[in-house]
Amino acid sequence: MVFNKDLLLEKAHFVLKQADKFGATQTEVTITSTTGALTRLANSIIDQNVAERHFRVSTIAYVGSQKGSTTVEVFDNESITSAVETAVKIAKISPENKDFKSLPEKQSYSDKVSLADLVSKNTIEATPEQRADFAKLAIVSAQAIDKRIKAVAGAVSHTTAERIILNNLGLEAYDRGTYGNINLTVLAEDGTEETAGWSADNRKDFSKLDIQTVAEKAARKAVDGFGMKFIDPGEYEVVLEPAAVAGFLFFINYFGFSAQSYQDYISFLRDKIGTKVFSEKLTLWDDAYDPRLENREIFDGEGVPKSKLEMIKDGVVKNLTYDTLTASKDSVQSTGHNAKFYGRSLPIAQHLLVGEGDSNLDEMIAETKNGILVTHFHYQNAVNPTKGVFTGLTRDGAWYIKNGEIQFPLKTLRYTDAAPRFLAEIDLVGKYMDLNDARALVPPMKLPSFKISGSSKE
């Protein structure tokens, strides 16, 4: 993919001009150009292998406080004109939005991150043959761990994108990015049972994905999974690897901290701002400028620049994430967290970090009297978001720990528990680990109490 800011700028200005002609009083246009490719592994072969090109033009037109929007995947000016005309036309028939005050004014952007910091040439130039070589390396590396490795599954992918946001109040925001990912689930079989192990890595530079380490780690987890047993439902200590912690984060972020969830009475943190809800060992913030994050965007879906936002400080709930509309309802400033999905939008943090401690997995296991070690969770969901009650299942490696030692691997377990309860106490927080297996930067944790509600044997 060749970046072409001038083309995006030309098209975006064309949209603003057309919208003005059709009678819009305020207009926002977002244009994204994306090239992505993904090689999918199953049964130790390349099973699916795809490449996609997208060029998407999203127009939000206001006539006074009446709003209309269109999202089109077209490139020619005639089609874009038609889409803009439609956006203005439907704005004119739309009821007034009493919460709307204005689109964001012209913004200035930090020079802490340059465009060059956001992309990798190696990712832009990645090829199908390179993905196939990575896939082969993953297969060979996993199979070398143990003869009982039955199948390597997963995906190797890279994406390159550029984005421009303009509005007719003078806002002009442009960024670009590259992203590479490998995620593997390795299955092992010994004739009596099938086990699984998982690992992943995310890098801005596709060529730096640590394929061999990911494959070996996933394979070792699978091999260490033989001899699985059930344990009874109940309260256990739990040692959570980073990906397991990151699994909770999405739900805590969306259901707890999004101003939209808060304003919709869904948030379990309603009336809890400034209150200590979590362990003093828990600190959570959002910071797109942190260079340790591999995938960063320097402005949000409205072109509002990102800034560091404290969300939990020493267990105290500090701030919600806002975009322009939710901020105007609460008479505060946007925190730069708008995200858009096909014409719908909401505020949500996308550059999360959880403060690290000085512990590690070995110490956490050694400190556990009666608990479980979890690689990551599957199919989590909110059971009662207003109380922060979530559920989910262990997957790709969980082990029972007794008196500081791993005893045996566990069959699938289900938890159902409330985040304000199970995060009210944290025994240990670890250092960040080498593999970046979650899109947030998250350390491992040991919690003193976690509620297992069932298993695949009822």
Binding site: Q48, P95, Y265, N381, V383, L393, T416, S456
Partner: protein, 492 residues
């Protein structure tokens, strides 16, 4: 259009492909959402693009783009073959498809009123009024109201190197209302109509949306939301559970739909959505449920959200048995996956949600076939139990065995009659044990319900699927699992 499809197939052939197909697709989508008297979303999407799938060197390659020009099609055809060759290098056996007679045909969803011929103003007016009625029912207690509409239309051309050339127009629409009640000292409760997550959808015209009668159902919806705030909690016990269609559909979706997708069974989703306990050696042997359980995959069902003329590899729509009298007998499949386990034909289950995405085995209309009962007869025949309706939360393990669902509302059943409302209902179970406990299913309230929110695949895709079902009864089910899990910690 034929010149473009021929160009793609010709380039693929020249580059060494042994098979190729191309889809050129235009999608229109209208999305309207009203919240608390304010329009949140009024968006019209228009997506155009193509996707080329080829086999070369025994492997599969796919490339798609938004630019439907001869030049870009030629470029992406070459890329698709290059990707296929790279894929083939890792395969132990070349990809083989089951035979499918190539046809030239066309199909159009039969509709009375084209949803895109109805002015947006008319839809907004109806939604605004429904939203207003929800709050007007009790302005002090209904704090949130919502009304949604969505219309969708796809025009597709499919052509293959085997000689198929198929044009289709698929249309669906639908919507719904929901509201949240808050009373003094009680957590919020939400109630929706006709279903949660923005309502219900059907491959029918705008007349289907009108038939939902959102205005007429606003008062009842608001009343139930308020009643829920003061209701008793769902008890924690093992009991007789009745599910009506608005929850039963998701039970079918998660515990029969996904585990009978043959690509998933064969490991394609092993690293993402998971695998399946319904493995090929169990075909024709596993008792999936009781003798009353009959499940089908049927993309011919009129009005079903998973209804079409041909799938995205040119296979004509058909009905396939998945479970017959409780016995696991069939899969949802593609031409490739059917060949792998020796089936004679595909179930016509391949679809992509976007022109630039690779078709995958997707649910069509996965149905629990009608039983012999009437809904009222099942209730009258139940001495003690709980009736649950309208999905609120869902979770199931990677082999599709352990599931846990929450619903918006439940009612006690005592001595054959519906009793008081219960709040925060949840239930859990193991798939074959749960379906093994089904002893009744109705026919009088049997209908095909639809959800446009089924996620699968890497890169991710979201598909629209249907589920035909009525009201069913299950014995010895563990309910109230949320209360059980949180009762000791003061969370209600």
């Amino acid at each position: 259009m034929r010149d473009l499809t021929e160009k793609a197939l010709e380039v693929c052939s020249k580059e060494g492909a042994t098979y190729a197909d191309i889809r050129i697709v235009t999608i229109k989508d209208e999305d309207i959402s009203i919240k608390n008297g304010t329009i949140q979303t009024l968006n019209i999407a228009n997506i155009k693009g193509f996707g080329i799938r080829t086999i070369s060197n025994g492997g599969l390659g796919f490339a798609g783009s938004y630019d439907v020009s001869a030049k870009e099609i030629g470029r992406m055809a070459k890329l698709a073959v290059r990707i296929a060759k790279a894929s083939g290098a890792t395969r132990k056996k070349p990809i083989v498809f089951v035979d499918e007679k190539p046809v030239e045909d066309s199909y159009k969803t039969p509709i009375k009123k084209d949803p895109f011929s109805i002015p947006s103003e008319e839809k907004i007016e109806l939604l605004m009024e429904a939203d207003k009625r929800l709050r007007a029912y009790n302005p002090d207690e209904i704090k949130m109201s919502r009304a949604d509409y969505r219309g969708h239309q796809e025009d597709k051309v499919f052509a293959s190197s085997e000689g198929a050339y198929i044009t289709q127009q698929i249309t669906f629409c639908g919507g719904g209302i929901s509201c949240t009640a808050i009373t003094q000292g009680e957590p919020p409760q939400t109630r929706s109509f006709p279903g949660s997550f923005r309502g219900n959808f059907s491959t029918k015209g705008y007349d289907y949306f009108e038939s939902l009668k959102l205005l007429e159902n606003a008062d009842k919806t608001a009343d139930e939301a308020i009643a829920l705030t003061g209701a008793k909690h769902c008890p924690t016990e093992k009991t007789v559970l009745l599910l009506d269609g608005h929850q039963l559909m998701l039970q079918i979706h998660e515990s029969c739909g996904h585990p009978t997708e043959l690509d998933r069974v064969l490991g394609t989703e092993a690293a993402f959505a998971g695998t399946s306990f319904m493995t090929p050696e169990k075909l024709g042997k596993l008792m999936y449920g009781s003798e009353h359980v009959n499940m089908t995959s049927d993309c011919t069902l009129p009005g079903g959200l998973g209804t079409y003329g041909y799938d995205d590899e040119g296979v004509k729509a058909k009905r396939v048995d998945l479970v017959k009298n409780g016995l696991f007998v069939g899969y949802q499949s593609s031409r490739e996956t059917a060949a792998i386990i020796g089936l004679k034909e595909s179930s016509a289950g391949m679809r992509a949600d976007n022109p630039q995405k690779l078709p995958l085995v997707r649910m069509t209309n996965i149905n629990l076939e009608p039983g012999d009962w009437k809904r009222d007869e099942i209730i009258a025949d139940t001495k003690k139990g709980i009736l649950m309706s309208t999905n609120k939360s869902w979770s199931i393990d990677d082999k599709r065995l352990n599931f846990q669902f929450g619903t918006e509302i439940a009612w006690e059943i005592v001595d054959g009659e519906i009793g008081q409302i219960l709040k925060n209902p949840t239930y859990t179970g193991i798939t074959p044990e749960f379906w093994g406990g089904m002893d009744a299913h109705s026919k009088d309230d049997w209908k095909v319900l639809g959800t446009p929110n089924c996620g699968k695949g890497q890169p991710g895709q979201v598909m629209y699927v249907g589920h035909g079902c009525g009201t069913a009864r299950f014995n010895n089910v563990r309910v109230g699992v949320m209360q059980e899990a949180t009762s000791t910690i003061g969370v209600q």
